[in-house]
C-alpha cells in the first residue's frame, strides 16, 4: 500500500510537470489586473486574436480589494514577473509610481488623451472610467427622497438604511481621498465621523452594497456604475442617481482606468503592444459595450446605456493631490470605521 502511494506521488509529480511545466515558445505578455475577470478576459482574448501575443493574466480577488496585487507588485520589485499593470482605479497606480515600480512608456494611442489622463513623466495612462453612483431600490424609497449630494447623505433621514463599502479599499477609498483633497482634511474627517455616527451601514465591498440594495436590505448605497448598471438589468426596481450635479456642487466622482508598464518588465515590447491596444478607441468601445466603462474618453466612442455620460458634471479632481491625502485618509478612516 505504501509503495503504491509513493509510486502514485511520483506519477503525480511527473504528470504535473508534463501538464504545467512545459513552456510554450509563443510570445507572451504578463498582465496583472484588478479589473473584474469577466471584463478583462474578453479584452485579453481580443488582443490575442489581433496580435497573436498570448496574455498571461493575474487577477485580483474582491476580498483583497486590489491591495493584494499592488502589494505583490511591490514585493516583486527586484525581479518582476509582470509586464503591465491594468488597474480599475488610479490611486493604487500612483502609489506604485511613488514606490518606483513603474517605468516610462511611449504609447502613440495616448496622444489623444486629455493631459489629466496621462502622467507627466509618461509612467501611467488613464482611460475610460466608472462613475460613483447612488444605487436606489425604488420599492423601498422614492428617488425624490434620496440625498442628492454627499453632504445630504449625512443628514438624510434614511441614512441608517444606506450603505457604503469600507472606505479603506478600492474606489471607496479613492472617493474618500478625493473628498479629503477637495474639502480639506478637517472637513473631510468631520464628514466621515458624522456619517458613521449617523448610522450608515458599512459593508464589505461595492458589490455587497449593490446586493443589499437589490435585496431590499438597504434603501440606497454608494457603489460603482458597473456594479449598479449590471444589477439593474436583473432587478427592474433599481435606479441610479448621480451625486452633486447642482451648479454649485462639487460634481460626481469618476474613477478612470489606468495602465502602466512595470520597471524591469520581462517582455517590454509586448507590454508596449498591449498598452497600445488597451488605450485604443476600439478597446474602449468594447469595454463600454461590455458594461465596464461608462465614461469614455475617446471621441466617437458610443456612450454606455443607462448613463448619460455626456451630461454628467464630473468632479474636478487632481488625482495627484488626492494621492497625497490617501495615507492620511486611510489612517483616519480606519480609526472611524474599523475600530
Amino acid at each position: 500500500m505504501i509503495k503504491r502511494l509513493v509510486g502514485l506521488f511520483f506519477v503525480a509529480v511527473f504528470m504535473f510537470v508534463a501538464l504545467f511545466g512545459c513552456t510554450n515558445p509563443q510570445k507572451t505578455v504578463v498582465v496583472y489586473t484588478s479589473v473584474d475577470q469577466v471584463f478583462s478576459e474578453k479584452l485579453f482574448q481580443m488582443f490575442e486574436k489581433q496580435t497573436g501575443i498570448k496574455v498571461k493574466a493575474v487577477y485580483d480577488v474582491e476580498a483583497s480589494k486590489s491591495v493584494g496585487l499592488a502589494n505583490r507588485l511591490i514585493a516583486e520589485k527586484g525581479q518582476p514577473l509582470a509586464d503591465v499593470f491594468w488597474n480599475g482605479e488610479i490611486l493604487q497606480t500612483l502609489d506604485l509610481k511613488a514606490k518606483d515600480v513603474l517605468v516610462k512608456a511611449d504609447i502613440s494611442n495616448s496622444n489623444d488623451l486629455p493631459n489629466s489622463f496621462k502622467d507627466s513623466e509618461g509612467k501611467w495612462f488613464g482611460f475610460g472610467g466608472r462613475a460613483r453612483v447612488l444605487i436606489v431600490n425604488t420599492k423601498k424609497i422614492g428617488l425624490d427622497k434620496c440625498p442628492k449630494t454627499m453632504e445630504e447623505l449625512v443628514t438624510s433621514p434614511y441614512v441608517k438604511n444606506a450603505g457604503i463599502a469600507y472606505p479603506l479599499f478600492g474606489t471607496t477609498s479613492t472617493q474618500a481621498a478625493a473628498l479629503y483633497s477637495i474639502w480639506g482634511d478637517a472637513k473631510a474627517k468631520d464628514y466621515f465621523t458624522r456619517l458613521k455616527a449617523a448610522g450608515i451601514q458599512v459593508v464589505e465591498g461595492n458589490s455587497v452594497v449593490k446586493d443589499f440594495v437589490s435585496q431590499g436590505k438597504l434603501y440606497f448605497g454608494l457603489t460603482d456604475s458597473d456594479d449598479a448598471l449590471g444589477e439593474m438589468e436583473k432587478n427592474k426596481d433599481l435606479a441610479i442617481l448621480l451625486m452633486d450635479q447642482g451648479a454649485k456642487d462639487i460634481g460626481n466622482m469618476v474613477t478612470p482606468n489606468t495602465v502602466a508598464q512595470i520597471k524591469g518588465a520581462p517582455h517590454p515590447e509586448q507590454a508596449d503592444a498591449f498598452m497600445e491596444f488597451l488605450l485604443s478607441k476600439e478597446a474602449e468601445q468594447a469595454m463600454v459595450d461590455d458594461g465596464w466603462i461608462h465614461i469614455p474618453v475617446h471621441a466617437g466612442v458610443t456612450a454606455a446605456k443607462g448613463l448619460d455620460s455626456k451630461n454628467i458634471k464630473i468632479m474636478d479632481i487632481d488625482f495627484a493631490e488626492a494621492y497625497k491625502k490617501l495615507e492620511l485618509s486611510k489612517t483616519e478612516l480606519e480609526k472611524i470605521f474599523v475600530k
Binding site: 500500500m1 505504501i2 506521488f9 503525480a12 509529480v13 504535473f16 501538464l19 504545467f20 511545466g21 507572451t28 504578463v30 498582465v31 473584474d36 475577470q37 469577466v38 498570448k54 498571461k56 493574466a57 493575474v58 487577477y59 485580483d60 480577488v61 474582491e62 476580498a63 483583497s64 480589494k65 491591495v67 493584494g68 496585487l69 502589494n71 505583490r72 511591490i74 514585493a75 516583486e76 527586484g78 525581479q79 514577473l81 469600507y166 479603506l168 479599499f169 477609498s173 458599512v202 459593508v203 464589505e204 465591498g205 458589490s207 455587497v208 446586493d211 435585496q215 436590505k217 456594479d227 449590471g230 444589477e231 436583473k234 495615507e327 486611510k330 489612517t331 480606519e334 474599523v338 475600530k339
Partner: protein, 496 residues
C-alpha cells in the same frame, strides 16, 4: 522543513530588523474589545458546530448502526465542500425564507450580522464535528456497549458513561473549528460583521507595513497558541479505534436519544439540501453549462493537481515533525513553533514567501506552477504534523524503540511508522487537500501568471454577481470531490 520554516524566519527576521531600524513600530492593538468580540463570535460558531455535529452523529449512530463507520468516513470527506459554497447557499435560502416572513408579518428582518455568521460557519464545518463525534461513539469499547445493552441502559448511563468518553472528540473538533476560522474575515465581512482579522487587513491596507501588521497580530497568535495547548491536552485523551470494533447503539429506544437523533436528521437534511437545491436552482439559469465548464477546465485541473501535490508533500515535514515530537521533552514549545505558519494571517505569510522565493537563486521556482503547492505546504503542513504526531503518541514507546532497533536507518524507521499510521496519514492528506482547494489569501499572491485556481475564479465571479456561473462551477467542484471521496473510500476497502 525549508518550505515550512523559512518563510516564517524570513518574516520574523524582517520584522525585527525593521523594528531595529525604526521603520516599524510595535503596535499591539488598542482595540481589545474587538479582539474579545471576535473570539466570542468564533467560539459561538464552534460551540454551535459541535452541538449540531453531536446531533448528526447520534442520528447516524442510531439509524445506520452497522454501516455507521462508513458514513463517518464519508462525513469526514464532506469537509471537502468549500465554506463559500455554504455561505452563498445559506444567503440565497434564508433571503427567500425571510422575504416570505417579512411579507406575511410585515417585518423588516434580514439575514445578516453575528447570527448569520455563526450559522454559516457552523454548517460549513459540520462534517468535521459530526465525523469526529461519530468515530468517538463507534470507538467506545465493545465491553461497555455490551454492558449497556444488557442493563437496558437509559439517559443516565449515556450521560455518565458515554458522554465523558466522547467529550474529548467534541472538544477537539470545536477547537479545530475555532482555529480554522480565527483568521478568516471573508465570511464575517459578507454579513457586515467586523472582526479582529479584518482590522489587521485594514491596517495593512492603510499603510502597507506587513511587519507592523505582524506585531499587531501577536495577540491573535497568542490566543491560537493557548487553543493549541488545550488541543494537545485533549488529543492525548482521545481514543479512536478505526478497526476491530462492532458498532452498535444500545440506546436506540431511549427517548432522549431518539429526540436528539430526530434533530440530527433535520440538521443533516439542511446541511445537504440547502447548498444542493440552491446550486441546482441557480445553475438552471445558465445557457451554456458545458461552455462554462470547458472554459474552466484548466482552473479545475490546476487546482486539483496543486492541492493534491501539496497535501501529499506535506507528509514529509509532518512525519519528520511527528518523530521529533515523539522524543521531545518540550512538546508544547515544539507544537507552538510548528503552528506559527498556520496561524499567521495568510496575506502576511504570502508576502514573506515572495521576498524569500523571488530571489535570483530561487526565481525559476518562484515563477513556476509549483509555487502555490510550495506555499500550501508551508501553510498547512502543521495540520498533518498534528494528526500524525498524536497518532504516533498513542504507540508504545517500546514499540517505537523496537522499530528503530530492528530497522536501522531513518528511511527504514519512517517506512515502518508510515505502515503503522497510514490511515492517520491519509486523514491528514484529505484534510490538507480540502484546505488547499479553498484557500486564496496566499494563493493569490504566489500563483504564477497564466495560471489560476478555481477558487479564485469562483470568488471573482461571485463578486461580479454571476451566481448562475458560480453555481455551475460549485456543482462541478462537488461532483469532483464526490468522485475523489469515492476513490478514497474504495482505497480504504469500504471503510474496513
Amino acid at each position: 522543513m525549508f518550505f515550512t520554516a523559512a518563510p516564517l524566519f524570513n518574516l520574523v527576521a524582517g520584522a525585527l530588523i525593521s523594528f531595529g531600524q525604526g521603520t516599524t513600530h510595535i503596535k499591539i492593538t488598542d482595540n481589545l474589545g474587538l479582539l474579545i468580540k471576535s473570539v466570542a463570535l468564533y467560539s459561538g460558531a464552534a460551540v454551535l458546530c459541535v452541538a449540531l455535529g453531536f446531533a448528526v452523529a447520534i442520528w447516524v449512530w442510531t439509524a445506520f448502526e452497522k454501516r455507521a463507520i462508513k458514513i463517518a468516513i464519508l462525513m469526514l470527506i464532506l469537509i471537502l465542500i468549500p465554506p463559500f459554497v455554504h455561505v452563498q447557499s445559506w444567503i440565497y435560502f434564508m433571503d427567500k425564507i425571510i422575504a416570505v416572513i417579512n411579507s406575511t408579518f410585515g417585518l423588516m428582518l434580514n439575514f445578516s450580522g453575528e447570527f448569520a455568521v455563526i450559522i454559516t460557519m457552523a454548517f460549513s464545518f459540520l462534517p468535521l464535528t459530526a465525523g469526529l463525534c461519530l468515530v468517538a461513539l463507534l470507538s467506545v469499547p465493545a465491553e461497555i456497549n455490551d454492558q449497556a445493552r444488557l442493563e437496558t441502559a437509559g439517559r443516565k448511563t449515556f450521560l455518565a458513561v458515554y458522554f465523558p468518553l466522547i467529550s474529548p472528540a467534541l472538544l477537539i473538533s470545536g477547537l479545530l473549528v475555532f482555529l480554522l476560522n480565527i483568521n478568516d474575515y471573508g465570511i464575517p465581512s459578507v454579513f457586515g460583521v467586523n472582526v479582529f482579522s479584518l482590522e489587521l487587513f485594514s491596517l495593512f491596507s492603510a499603510n502597507g507595513d506587513r511587519y507592523g501588521v505582524f506585531f499587531s497580530s501577536l495577540p491573535l497568535v497568542a490566543i491560537c497558541l493557548v487553543v493549541l495547548v488545550f488541543l494537545g491536552i485533549y488529543m492525548k485523551r482521545i481514543h479512536f479505534a478505526f478497526s476491530g470494533f462492532k458498532a452498535g447503539n444500545p440506546f436506540k429506544t431511549v427517548g432522549f436519544i431518539q429526540t436528539i437523533s430526530a434533530i440530527g436528521f433535520v440538521v443533516f437534511a439542511f446541511f445537504t439540501l440547502v447548498p444542493l437545491c440552491n446550486l441546482i436552482y441557480e445553475a438552471a439559469f445558465v445557457n451554456d453549462a458545458l461552455g462554462v465548464l470547458s472554459g474552466s477546465a484548466d482552473e479545475f485541473v490546476y487546482s486539483l493537481w496543486t492541492s493534491a501535490l501539496s497535501a501529499v508533500a506535506c507528509l514529509i515535514p509532518a512525519i519528520i515533525f511527528a518523530y521529533l515530537y515523539f522524543f521531545s521533552k518540550h512538546k508544547v514549545l515544539l507544537i507552538s513553533l510548528a503552528a506559527l505558519p498556520f496561524i499567521i494571517p495568510a496575506a502576511i505569510s504570502g508576502l514573506s514567501m515572495i521576498s524569500l522565493w523571488n530571489s535570483p537563486l530561487l526565481h525559476n521556482i518562484y515563477q513556476s506552477p509549483f509555487m502555490p503547492a510550495i506555499a500550501m505546504v508551508g501553510r498547512f503542513a502543521f495540520i498533518e504534523a498534528l494528526i500524525i504526531s498524536f497518532a504516533l503518541l498513542r504507540l508504545e514507546k517500546a514499540l517505537v524503540d523496537n522499530l528503530r532497533l530492528h530497522n536501522p536507518g531513518i528511511l527504514e524507521t519512517f517506512k515502518c511508522l508510515a505502515a503503522l499510521l497510514w490511515k492517520e496519514c491519509l486523514a491528514g492528506v484529505m484534510i490538507v487537500f480540502a484546505l488547499a482547494m479553498s484557500e486564496f489569501g496566499m494563493t493569490l499572491l504566489v500563483t504564477p501568471p497564466g495560471y489560476q485556481t478555481i477558487t479564485i475564479k469562483i470568488f471573482n465571479y461571485l463578486h461580479y454577481g454571476a451566481s448562475d456561473i458560480v453555481a455551475i462551477l460549485c456543482l462541478a467542484m462537488l461532483a469532483i470531490m464526490l468522485l475523489i471521496s469515492t476513490w478514497v473510500f474504495l482505497l480504504l476497502k469500504g471503510g474496513r
